[in-house]
Amino acid sequence: MRLSRDVVDHVAMLARLGLTEEERERMREQLSSILEHVSLIQELDTEAIPPTAQVIALRNVWREDEVRPSLPLEEVLKNAPDAEDNMFKVNAVLEQS
């Protein structure tokens, strides 16, 4: 199985990864060979087998909904590339009409 270039481009966009031309070609080769390897599991009949998402018998973990101190805002925003009025600042995503 060999991935098409369209699939590589589509997946890179879904993952929000800006890849160079060379990276896309290499990715196509390497992902194809890894997918071929992992296809080994297709030979197993798993029709009647339930999936395992995680292995411990925990379900929902609840706590009282009470107000507790959070991390100080200035500490949290100290790492922000751009911030204003206690908010992370990004480019506009909506057009102004």
Binding site: H37, A80, N91
Partner: protein, 499 residues
């Protein structure tokens, strides 16, 4: 300075600190001196935290003077650089986190800090813990103290090498598919991956959340037991940490394994296995028998599917976890014309090749049209792998296996073909898939390099793993072997001032 304080175990150091024969400051200085000597070749650390460590060591001495010492007060520790710390950068081995300062400590870091441990630095790792050699670190690879031309294993290669070379007495790493056990094996030290849920992951940079677990490295099983006891336990900040009692792990080290049933699975003999490694591991299993253990053949028929299952599940979870690196909240941020452009540039430039490969693989496996065939299918096979272990553990107490199919490999030997690199974790991945604990202990040498024996155990039964590993260690001398690099230092400074 006639004695090498960096060869002390935690137990030995504790006794001498508490008797005031040595100070925490002296113990730290001996390790800092070792770091100055070997770090230019080994490169076990991304960040050294000498200043932080000096303050902690002085505080430890004050605490010891008050007779208020905890088991790790004054003990020099290295922390894998995927563990968040308030007083040093946390990079996860990635350019995308360059300059990041965590506003909080990981729970395991907080616990060690409260015990008065001394943090010498943040240890090197493959980027986002994805790799088996540290060659994927954006800050350059770590070299194996046993042979500088070879990898230390990975992803926790820095944590393993630091302990092997005496740059830290013990260390913490993380293990998603073998990232504690495999480097412990390659560097000739002890490493344990606890049961999934045993140790809080709060403040661990997430890779694959259904598999990741934090655990310690040390030069003896007892040292690892002491650190595990310090970091284990339920944490309200990690709802996947389980509220089950933490036993006294040192009390479990009885040295007695008479009647213990040790399973050996034929499925752990694979093509590509180094015959010398196989011979050494077989000899180790024979030693267990001499110590009174009963060797029982078991079958784990789905073992050969574990690697494939892992390389669907782990990248899928990683692709979701790594969506947070968007250049908005922290880390590298490259500005494009639009928000989308900023994402593409930041992530395209910030992540290295292996991380991109896994994000692509995971995104593909989770995308419309492939989800059932890959992700759900892999989760079902995971059930089969877990059932294999459930059945085996009805008949045996632990399972013994090689930690890795080979000894440490050379730099560049496996970087061209990702699958060759992935195969180095073929014996460690199954325990992660089933959430079970696994420990790696030195069991001899092949081609002059350390070989490692792995024990896997029942969920939350680390005590039995530690018991069998310790009994084996007590009966053998492998853990006392010193890497040539370190032995040469001792030979060079026989007495008087060390250079």
């Amino acid at each position: 300075m006639s004695e090498d304080l960096t060869r002390l175990t935690v137990t030995e150091a504790r006794a001498r600190l508490d008797r005031r024969e040595i100070s925490a400051v002296e113990l730290l200085e001996a390790h800092l001196e070792r770091i100055r000597q070997v770090e230019p070749q080994i490169h076990a650390f991304i960040t050294l935290t000498e200043e932080v460590a000096r303050v902690q060591a002085e505080e430890a001495d004050r605490r010891i003077a008050r007779s208020d010492a905890a088991p790790l007060t004054g003990i020099p520790v290295a922390l894998k650089d995927v563990l968040c710390t308030v007083d040093a950068p946390t990079t996860a081995g990635s350019r995308i986190l360059e300059g990041f300062r965590s506003p909080y400590d990981a729970t395991v870091v907080r616990k060690l800090r409260e015990q008065g441990a001394v943090f010498v630095g943040k240890a090197n790792t493959d980027e986002f813990a994805m790799g088996s050699s540290t060659e994927n670190s954006a800050y350059g690879p770590t070299r194996n103290p046993w042979d500088l031309d070879r990898v230390p294993g990975g992803s926790s290669g820095g944590s393993a090498a630091a302990v092997a070379a005496g740059e830290a007495m013990v260390s913490l790493g993380s293990d998603t598919g073998g990232s504690i056990r495999q480097p412990a094996g390659f560097c000739g030290v002890v490493g344990i991956k606890p049961t999934y849920g045993r140790v809080s992951r709060y403040g661990l940079v997430a890779f694959a959340s259904s598999l990741d677990q934090i655990g310690p490295f040390g030069r003896t099983v007892e040292d690892v037991a002491i650190v595990l006891e310090a970091i284990a336990g339920h944490d309200p900040c990690d709802s996947t940490s389980v509220d089950t009692p933490v036993p006294d792990y040192r009390a479990a080290l009885t040295g007695d394994i008479r009647g213990l049933r040790v399973g050996v699975a034929a499925e752990y003999q694979v093509p590509g296995m180094d015959p010398e490694v196989e011979r050494v591991v077989d000899e180790a299993i024979a030693e267990l028998q001499r110590l009174g253990a009963e060797i029982v053949p078991v079958s784990l028929p789905h073992t050969k599917y574990a690697l494939a299952t892992y390389y669907i599940i782990a990248p899928s979870e990683a692709s979701a976890n790594l969506a947070r690196y968007d250049g908005v909240k922290y880390g590298l941020s490259l500005q494009g014309e639009t928000l989308l452009e900023s994402y593409l540039q930041t992530r395209g430039r910030g992540f290295g090749p292996e991380v991109k490969r896994r994000i692509m693989l995971g995104t593909y496996a989770l995308s419309a049209g492939y989800y059932d065939a890959y992700y759900v299918k892999a989760q079902k096979v995971r059930t089969l792998i877990k059932r294999d272990f459930d059945q085996a553990f009805e008949r045996v107490d632990v399972i013994a296996a090689p930690t890795s199919p080979t000894v440490a490999f050379r730099f560049g030997e496996r970087t061209a073909d990702p699958i060759q690199m992935y195969l180095s974790d073929v014996f460690t991945i199954p325990a992660n898939m089933a959430g079970l604990p696994g420990i790696a202990v030195p069991c001899g040498f092949a081609h002059g390099l350390p070989v490692s024996l792995q024990f896997m155990g029942r969920a939350f039964d680390e005590a039995t793993l530690l018991r069998v590993a310790d009994a084996y260690e007590q009966a053998t001398a492998w853990h006392r072997a010193v890497p040539p690099l370190v032995a040469a230092l001792a030979a060079r400074a026989p007495s008087g001032e060390a250079e």
